[in-house]
């Protein structure tokens, strides 16, 4: 987990799309929103899940590892940048290798784009656009201590399982304090889809 980072609490998300709109205002990808807001149990539940880049720290950025053009840089503070426009060839390796389904791609422009934690803001001490506008605190930006000052006793997880692999991330997720299970299931292996067993 990074020192100052985003903490995602899907339990607080009301699916209002404020983060999606605010993300478009980010200077590094103006006009295009990089945050994903999904409804995992659409039609049955109002549950919604905001997804920003998790800034994987171990293994370091699988997206960057599978990039054939060395286009994805990781800054010393652990932020995984979006693809360098000069180098990106639009092969979509990162899009399909990312375990969290984060990067987007413009096939005509042969360019990948993704959440870079609003690096133009966070590198200057400001909160990312999404966390700035989130009305419910589903997206919180700060240190774990700052989060705990606001929400005493809150527990967070920064590791996810994908099959037998554990991915540690720079961005963390809030988990219930009474049943902290490490690490958080990432969805693989796929066990069920909307109640239907697909094993």
């Amino acid at each position: 987990m990074m020192g100052r980072t985003i903490f995602i609490d899907p339990g607080r998300c009301i699916g209002c799309q404020a983060c999606v709109s605010a993300c478009r205002e980010c200077d590094s990808h103006r006009g295009k929103s990089m945050i994903h807001l999904d409804y995992p149990d659409e039609g049955r539940s109002v549950a919604s899940l905001p997804t920003v880049c998790m800034h994987c720290s171990d293994p370091v950025a699988p997206c960057a590892e599978v990039c054939p053009a060395d286009a994805i840089q990781v800054t010393p503070d652990g932020v995984v940048q979006q693809a360098d426009t000069t180098r990106c060839i639009g092969c979509a390796n990162c899009v399909n290798a990312c375990p969290f389904g984060v990067p987007k791609i413009d096939l005509a422009a042969k360019l990948q784009m993704k959440c870079d934690l609003c690096y133009d803001r966070t590198s200057h001490g400001l909160a990312p656009m999404c966390a700035t506008v989130c009305p419910t605190g589903a997206l919180f930006y700060g240190t774990l201590e700052e989060l705990r000052t606001e929400r005493p006793g809150v527990e967070v997880a920064d590791s996810f399982t994908f099959g037998d692999t554990v991915v540690h991330t720079g961005v963390a997720m809030v988990v219930p304090a009474d049943k902290v299970r490490w690490p958080v299931p990432g969805g693989l292996p796929v066990i069920e889809v909307n109640g239907v067993d697909v094993r």
Binding site: P68, C91, N93, G101, L111, D120, K179, V184, P185, L188
Partner: protein
């Protein structure tokens, strides 16, 4: 915190899978192999310079520093290229690209695909137009200016081109390559003028293109976000310095009777030599990398022609071509990213499935 994850920083194990070792029975460390290959290429260039300049008879010793810089350039580019293509992702895609190019299906079904891609992708860079029309236009100016300059200067510094006049001071000249006469021209007419001022024309194109990009790097907030001086600005400044000092050389010759020529020539030479040596290590390396991307395009194009498509196992949305997904899974396995099965799901389904898992197993109902 949490359970100890499995180690993922194991050294690149060449024996990850039999397929990976088949091509290289006794793999050398990439740095050693790269040094050997780069030295061989640099040596080859030296031999080519000696032979092409007719045993140095046509070699212009005033251009020696430039020629030496091109030898360093050849070494640097080859070194960096060899290291680059030894990484799993690049190696696999490059191999697939070549395999597709030389496949019978490609020759039979899409013989024009490669030339078309080279023209639209590498030449006219249509994809840049999809990013921004202004950036496309500026890059085209920069690109064609650099191509023109390279085509003129590289053979000149190697002593491959010569311009000789049988009539002493002209105006009729002969252009020779490797000593063979190619064309004769009159230096006073339009063709002669263009031939002798090709570098000035190139400089104008480059200044226009690089000037726009420099302006953008100073003003546009998308460009300035996260930009680095050494990576983003130095290449533009280098190109502008080369072009301006080059134009000033002509200015000095035409209007100042050669005043300040020696100083300008030195400044020009230093900027060119610096740029050539810097080329393999910074932003300019995309010049070498980009052509390799044509292989990736051909690989995907060929599979699409055969309708070998791969759809998401959950929602049926198109993921990519089937050979591409297989190739990516291989790359992920090479890198010990053992969740390659996940590549068979589209990004949205990955997020939704993670959401479902969180919903059912971590925080039921997100309460």
């Amino acid at each position: 915190m949490g359970p100890v994850p499995q180690s993922s920083d194991a050294p690149a194990a060449p024996a990850a899978e039999p397929e990976a070792t088949a091509a290289a029975p006794r793999p050398r460390p990439p740095a050693v192999r790269a040094t050997l290959v780069a030295s061989a290429v640099a040596l080859l260039l030296i031999v080519a310079i000696i032979l092409g300049s007719r045993m140095l008879r046509n070699f212009d010793s005033a251009l020696l520093p430039y020629a030496v810089a091109t030898v360093f350039l050849a070494f640097g580019v080859t070194y960096r290229y060899t290291v680059w293509v030894s990484e799993p992702a690049a190696r696999r895609l490059l191999r697939q690209g070549w395999r597709t190019l030389f496949s019978r299906e490609n020759f039979r079904k899409a013989p024009t695909a490669l030339p078309r891609m080279i023209a639209t992708y590498l030449g006219f860079q249509k994809f840049l137009g999809a990013r921004s029309t202004a950036r496309w236009a500026a890059h085209q100016l920069l690109f064609w200016g650099c191509i023109l300059a390279a085509v003129i200067t590289f053979p000149l510094t190697w002593g491959w081109f010569t311009f000789t006049s049988a009539t002493g001071p002209g105006p009729s000249y002969e252009m020779r390559i490797w000593g063979f006469k190619i064309i004769g021209f009159n230096s006073a007419d339009v063709i002669g003028w263009a031939l002798f001022h090709g570098l000035d024309l190139a400089a104008v194109l480059v200044i226009a293109g690089a000037g726009y990009f420099l302006w953008r790097r100073l003003r546009d907030r998308t460009a300035t976000t996260g930009q680095r001086f050494g990576y983003d600005l130095v290449p533009l400044l280098a190109l502008i310095v080369i072009s301006v000092t080059g134009l000033l050389l002509t200015f000095s010759a035409v209007f100042l009777h050669g005043g300040g020529y020696e100083f300008l020539a030195l400044l020009h030479m230093v900027s060119v030599v610096f740029t050539l040596i810097y080329l393999p290590f910074g932003k300019f390396f995309h010049i070498v990398q980009r052509p390799a991307a044509v292989g990736m395009q051909l690989f995907k194009y060929s599979a699409r022609q055969d309708e070998k498509l791969f759809t998401c196992r959950r929602c049926g949305e198109l993921v990519d071509t089937a050979p591409y997904v297989e190739n990516l899974r291989g790359t992920m396995r090479d890198l010990r990213l053992d969740f390659d099965e996940w590549a068979e799901y589209c990004p949205r389904c990955k997020r939704v499935l993670r959401g479902s898992a969180y919903l059912t197993r971590v925080k039921r109902g997100f309460k």
